[in-house]
């Protein structure tokens, strides 16, 4: 108990260092992921018949990896309404990410929170939650640095894929498609290790993965992640109460 308090305390003054530039720096470990996934997305969007301008708009306005892959895959065969509804469900998980982040940004006005939330992604969320482990609130400048760095690199990667995609016929041969799951693995491990409740976190994680697989296989992909997150987190809370 004492040891834990000693380890947690020295970080209180850390907030003063949380500049825009520090946010940009803290984004760097995720950049390889953004580049490879964004590049792959650009290649696939280009193959689906989208123009460079359309690809730029897609990454600037939608700014969501899995949704952009889905849009590219459906654009030739599905009506706009079906594409938009599918993307709505795929991106509904942001509700949970946004809610989980909110306790650390309570010191900001709703409008300022909107500015931060508009550029929320799985990766920036992971980086921000890692930071939130050691401090009670996140700095706005730091969040903007993290978000803008990710946003611009994503656009850059999409455009690179759109231009160079004509010459790359097989991005999977280089394992590029695996950058996304690998990054999720990294974020999960980093969070679990630093939260110091490995047993409970691992139990919730295994449960969430199993539910996601089961629901996705039976009902289709878009619901799996949402159902798994809601249920596994709730079971985590129930087990917590039990043990006390």
């Amino acid at each position: 108990m004492h040891e834990e308090q000693i380890r947690l305390n020295p970080r209180i003054e850390a907030e003063s260092e949380d500049t825009f530039l520090q946010g940009v720096k803290d984004c760097i470990p995720t950049l390889l992921g953004y580049w490879s996934i964004g590049f792959a997305a650009g290649v696939i969007e280009q193959t689906a018949g989208l123009s460079v301008a359309e690809i730029a708009l897609l990454s600037l306005l939608l700014y969501a990896g899995s949704a952009q892959f889905i849009a590219a895959g459906m654009i030739a065969s599905s009506p706009p309404s079906v594409i938009v509804i599918t993307i709505f469900f795929v991106n509904l998980r942001h509700l949970l990410l946004s809610a989980a982040l909110s306790p650390y940004l309570r010191h900001l006005s709703p409008l300022r929170n909107m500015g931060i939330g508009a550029l929320l992604t799985d990766e920036t969320f992971g980086v921000a939650m890692n930071k939130a482990l050691v401090q009670p609130r996140l700095s706005e400048r730091w969040m903007h640095g993290l978000n803008v760095a990710a946003y611009l690199n994503w656009l850059f990667a999409n455009l690179a894929g759109a231009y160079l995609g004509r010459w790359i016929t097989d991005p999977e041969r280089f394992g590029l498609d695996y950058a996304l799951p690998a990054m999720f693995i990294g974020l999960l491990v980093l969070m679990t290790v630093s939260r110091k409740q490995v047993a409970m976190d691992s139990a919730v994680a295994v449960l969430a993965a199993l539910i996601a697989i089961a629901v996705s296989l039976s009902l289709g992909g878009s619901w799996g992640v949402i159902a798994a997150t809601v249920t596994a987190s709730a079971i985590g809370v129930v087990i917590e109460r039990w043990k006390r």
Binding site: S81, V84, N91, F125, R173, M183, V204, A205, V225
Partner: protein
């Protein structure tokens, strides 16, 4: 396709998708920053990041529409060294490099197998 062409139906899809993505991103942050959450909700939110990452991993590694061949399932094989490197190095960058390299090597060596 002209580089700068933007078709109306594509623009409609992009705008619609952008709106339905924007709302869940910002709404909880805007509302929950104003109200105090009950204890159970805070505990629940505490598990959300772990659960959502694990769910995304589970789906990415195990949900496949393709038939069950070794080639379609190297993703979860590659997850083993990826997890080990993540635990060992505690670095996001090395984890991504390890994962991509593992998949590339596995696919490469599978392509060398006869038949």
């Amino acid at each position: 396709m002209e580089t700068l062409t933007i078709r109306w139906d594509v623009l409609l899809i992009i705008l619609g998708a952008a709106v339905v993505t924007f709302i869940p991103r910002v709404l909880p942050l805007m509302l929950l920053s104003r109200i105090e959450l009950p204890h159970w909700a805070v505990r629940w939110l505490h598990y959300v990041p772990i659960a959502v990452m694990a769910a995304l991993i589970g789906q990415a590694l195990f949900v496949r529409e393709d038939p069950w061949t070794l080639e379609n399932h190297i993703e979860w094989l590659a997850a083993i060294p990826t997890f080990l490197i993540a635990i060992r190095t505690r670095s996001l960058l090395w984890t991504v490099i390890a994962g991509v390299a593992a998949v590339m090597l596995l696919r490469g060596s599978l392509a060398l197998l006869p038949g």
